[in-house]
Amino acid sequence: MEKLLQVDDLRTWFRTSRGIVKAVDGVSFDVAPGKTRAIVGESGCGKSITALSILQLVPEPAGYIESGKIHFGGEDILERSWTDMRGLRGREIAMIFQEPMTSLNPTRTIGWQLSEAMTVHGKDAPVARTRALELLERVGLRDPNAALRQYPHELSGGMRQRVMIAIALANRPKLLIADEPTTALDVTVQAQIMSLIKELQDELGMAMLLITHDLGIVSEVAHDVSVMYAGQVVEAAPTRDLFHDPRHPYTQGLFASLPARNRRGQDLMTLDGIVPDAANWPTGCRFAERCVHKMDACSTAPQLRVSASGRQVRCHLPSALEVTK
């Protein structure tokens, strides 16, 4: 199938006093129309910078896209200037962040902000106002008429995230980038928001790139998943395959470190050591120092290998790509 989004060998670097920090260092993945790809990883792995790179929202001047290609609907959108990206941002590609309070304007009403999201992309003001009301109804605000006149601080965290979703979906984007959309919310609100996003995704046939550290959410919503470690994708596969049978030692470690009933009374797996310095990545495997399978070959950098079934693993272990069934 034709891919909606295709990211190839993306490198997003930062100039710092410590030298060049290679936050994203050769990342590739794609998102099919209407499907969800999750990018998972722990703090500092580069997942959020990957998401920001797609919209050219990397904090400048320190950050810059060193190389790589990002195709959206067949067009290399890295060729677009920052201003030309405006036609795409919020229209074809929308984004929601973890903390809606920092993305919403505290001095404007919800109605104003929703309408603006549409009028900047050419909708007439009266049409935008009517649609704003419809959107607030659709995302489940209890009193949408009142909400139009309210300010962000008057709403709860869950309601604010619903407003963010309404704004993101106002122009029926083809791709939604959701960066930790429910991390700040209580678990029952989180469940409501994720099921709302899924419903709307089906309704609009929208694709989603979901950035998260939460393996539970990935398991429930993503079709495909890429695991990032130290600025690179270390493993990628259809979600079910990856969860049933993780192949990269880092992914295996992540799963083994999860607390659960059947692990009571036993120590959980830990990943000893720390992530290497992004200003000075090791020349060999970046996970080697923490890996229980470390061997001589790990002093050279492993390439992302692809199996016949389409699994990708960045590891020298022969078993990483073996067919087990």
């Binding site: 678990v187 959410i217 429930e220 049933h244 470190s257 607390p259």
Partner: protein, 266 residues
């Protein structure tokens, strides 16, 4: 059941806050904790779970004496603790320590790790002098898996997981019996969370510590806690052994909470 009193016995605890507003200055109150009772037995872990605003952290703050109670009793080893003054209060404060969620906020950035870990020992006049306290701090750091050279560094030089271990070493420095753990792993990545959980389990095994674990993370409760109290709007709505409550939740809110946790299908 044995006849020894529970380590901690909380009876009909209430906390009310004055509400702002109210017409004609009428005094209205908000009840954050509403008639909460529970017991924690020595060497066990009781989890207090609920969503934000359920009152679970407020209970923890009152047990630590960081917040005054409106009414109710708290008995520690059978003796009332509310209203204690002077040396008795100080003695209790030594036995009851706390580890907070955010090791960034709870460790004074201007103190070295040695000063942070030695502070409690100084307050409680433990050990003869600072040289002995420092030696003790080094042992404690070793027990939480931190190197001795960490002593003369500052908290910002460490990762979140390391900082949380420093906070635990600090809590342990005064030889407590009871730890209130308020979301101690919520700010941590899972691979670091597992280190802290393993450490907490080991310390409980070795020192017979008793834990009150305040959290919204039900997977951690399922792994670590013996008993659980589920809170909503200031009240305990369900309590019991973790297996019983999680496998057969009776209250609709408990059922909703459990159903909302995304499952990792492996």
């Amino acid at each position: 059941m044995s006849t020894t009193p529970p380590m901690l016995d909380v009876r009909h605890l209430v906390k009310q806050f004055p509400k702002r507003g109210g017409m004609f200055g009428k005094r209205e109150v908000f009840t954050a904790v509403d008639d909460v009772s529970f017991q924690v037995n020595r060497g066990t872990t009781l989890a207090l779970v609920g969503e934000s605003g359920s009152g679970k952290s407020t209970v923890g703050m009152m047990l630590l004496g960081l917040l005054e109670t409106t009414s109710g009793d708290v008995l520690y080893e059978g003796r009332p603790v509310i209203g204690l003054r002077g040396p008795e209060r100080l003695a209790l404060r030594r036995k009851l320590q706390v580890v907070f969620q955010d090791p960034f906020a709870s460790l004074n950035a201007r103190m070295t790790v040695a000063e942070l870990v030695m502070e409690g020992m100084r307050v409680h006049k433990m050990y003869a002098n600072d040289a002995e306290r420092r030696a003790r701090a080094e042992v404690l750091l070793g027990q939480v898996g931190m190197p001795a050279h960490a002593l003369d560094r500052y908290p910002h030089e460490f990762s979140g997981g390391q900082r949380q271990r420093i906070a635990i070493a600090r809590a342990l420095s005064v030889e407590p019996e009871f730890l209130v753990l308020d979301e101690p792993t919520s700010a941590l990545d899972v691979s670091v969370q597992s280190q802290v959980l393993n450490l907490l389990r080991r310390l409980q095994r070795e020192r017979g510590l008793t834990y009150l674990f305040v959290t919204h993370n039900l997977a951690v409760v399922d792994y670590l806690a013996d008993e659980v109290c589920v809170m909503e709007k200031g009240k305990i709505i369900e309590r019991g052994m973790v297996e019983d409550v999680f496998d057969h939740p009776q209250h609709a809110t408990t059922q909703r909470l459990l159903a909302a946790v995304p499952k990792v299908e492996m």
